[in-house]
Subunit: 95 residues, 2 copies
């Protein structure tokens, strides 16, 4: 009835990714279309290094995918599901 402990840990890890305003902002920006690292860095207002670190986390959790075009790497949301989860949270805090 209650999920396995290991499932609960994975569930927590999943939500933890959304529990940081930098990452949430990145995800919101990527909703509108793919962006390269430098664009994200400028838009979020953090150093390129910080953005790269966060992108690695987002990729590990399969929330974003990337493709290389020359020197530039473009990131985008992995699937539409992600946007739905963000919307659900937004609805909840606007009640």
């Amino acid at each position: 009835m209650i999920p396995e402990d290991e499932t609960l840990v994975r569930l927590a890890e999943f939500y933890k990714v959304f529990g940081d305003s930098t990452r949430i902002k990145m995800l919101c920006l990527l909703r509108r279309g793919e962006l390269c690292v430098q664009e994200l860095s400028d838009m979020v207002g953090l150093q390129q290094s910080a953005i790269s670190h966060q992108l690695r986390i987002l990729k590990q959790m399969a929330l974003v995918v990337n493709r290389r075009e020359g020197k530039t790497v473009y990131y985008s949301l992995a699937d539409d599901h992600i946007a739905g989860i963000i919307d659900m949270g937004l609805e909840h805090i606007n009640e």
Copy 2:
């Protein structure tokens, strides 16, 4: 188009609550019905103090409500929405 910074912070804070396996476990247990602090403590396997601290966070974020019956305080989910958010996460990690 992109939510306000303050909204993003609140959104992150909201998801952060789900990003801890202790709290997720407590929420899953409370799905089945109200429980007092000691029951939660036993079921989760953490000290009563730790559970109380987490319950305070859950209450601050309006995820749980409580009622007092004598010496005992019973906690339950604040609304059905919460269960939906947990299910959404569970679906995502089981793909």
